[in-house]
């Protein structure tokens, strides 16, 4: 970790990328340590399970190694990694559709106990994960990058290759769907009555 800390400056980062480009695996490992949280966490949020997230992280770093020559600016590397990670998640989803059926919030309530009494942190988390999983790919990516990764709308637009207006629309729709899902889960009786 000390080595990672040592490469915080832009010059050190540039030198590390240059060394990795020259074939220095130690330098490439430093690069991985620097960006592994970004890649693995994003992949985990997009896929919803650790095994897939690890597969995607491996693929992203192998692609990075092969494309080190194309990464010119040091500051462009995180955006490049986000883009490749999101694309790899989309590819994985196309190759291997989600095995778990996407249940609705009402199905979850019907199969479980009274939501009012099971309002634990673990369950809320599970519901939120489920709400992310029901979102379309683009909306989920926009929401994850904007609200969980903390990127600006402009950065999200650059990563996703869309316009800022499109990204704003996607984020808005995604938030509304998540909110609706959570609302329906925790107050289904009131909803059903109305």
């Amino acid at each position: 970790m000390a080595a990672v800390a040592a490469m915080d400056g832009p010059d050190e980062r540039r030198d590390t990328i240059a060394a990795a480009r020259a074939g220095d695996l130690g330098a490439f490992e430093l690069l991985m340590r620097r960006h592994e949280r970004l890649v693995l966490a994003t992949a985990l949020r997009l896929t919803g399970n650790m095994a897939d997230a690890q597969d995607i992280s491996q693929e992203v770093f192998l692609r990075l190694y092969k494309n080190l020559g194309k990464v010119q600016a040091v500051n462009a590397l995180p955006a490049w990694l986000y883009r490749v990670t999101v694309n790899a998640c989309h590819d994985l989803r196309r190759r291997r559709p989600a095995s778990e059926p996407e249940s609705s919030a009402c199905d979850l309530v019907a199969g479980g106990m009274d939501p009012q009494t099971s309002l634990t942190q673990a369950e809320r988390r599970r519901v939120l994960e489920m709400s992310l999983r029901i979102l379309p790919e683009k909306e989920r990516a926009a929401l994850v990058l904007r609200d969980l990764e903390g990127l600006s709308t402009e950065e999200v637009a650059r990563v996703l290759g869309s316009s800022e207006a499109t990204v704003r629309s996607q984020i808005s729709k995604a938030r509304a769907k998540v909110h609706d899902f959570v609302e329906r889960y925790f107050s289904p009786r009131e909803r059903r009555r109305t």
Partner: protein, 158 residues
């Protein structure tokens, strides 16, 4: 609605703020580095295995084919074909003519076999070699001590 959603969003962020155990990162790093190391390995590093396999195969084939007795050696040869040029044997062969007629000095070589030559030759040649020129003498002793029968067998010509 906004405050509700902000609460939901904050909980979502909170849930995803949990640190990922280092073991997961280490596993990814190890897999990536292992794959890169395998890709960077020079092609000739692994060729020794193929060379060893080829040498072993060659040695095996040599052992099978070179060590085997040739077919020609396993079948007994016609002595005339096997030894086409035997001037001494022809000379030693009895012809029935006198030594003067043959133009050579009579010796015992014709009647005395050359044991050296026979012992040196393979068993197959000894069995079907040229006939022994000495006459075969069988002495039969009867009950009567005054009567002794001699049976002499001689080979004339081929």
């Amino acid at each position: 609605m906004n405050s509700d959603f902000e609460e939901t969003l904050e909980f979502l962020r909170e849930a995803h703020r949990e640190p990922i155990p280092d073991a997961h990162f280490a596993a990814v790093r190890a897999r990536v580095l292992a794959e890169l190391s395998a890709e960077r390995r020079p092609w000739w590093r692994g060729i020794w295995a193929y060379g060893f396999a080829a040498a072993a195969l060659t040695a095996m084939l040599l052992a099978v084919f070179v060590g085997r007795t040739p077919r020609s050696a396993r079948v007994p040869l016609d002595p005339h074909l096997a030894q086409p040029h035997k001037p001494h044997a022809i000379l030693e062969r009895p012809t029935g003519a006198s030594a003067a007629d043959q133009g050579v000095r009579p010796t015992n070589a014709g009647t005395r076999p050359s044991h050296r030559r026979h012992t040196a030759a393979p068993a197959a040649y000894r069995v079907i070699g040229p006939p022994d020129p000495r006459p075969l003498v069988v002495k039969l002793i009867t009950d009567d001590p005054n009567v002794v029968i001699y049976w002499i067998a001689s080979i004339k010509g081929e």
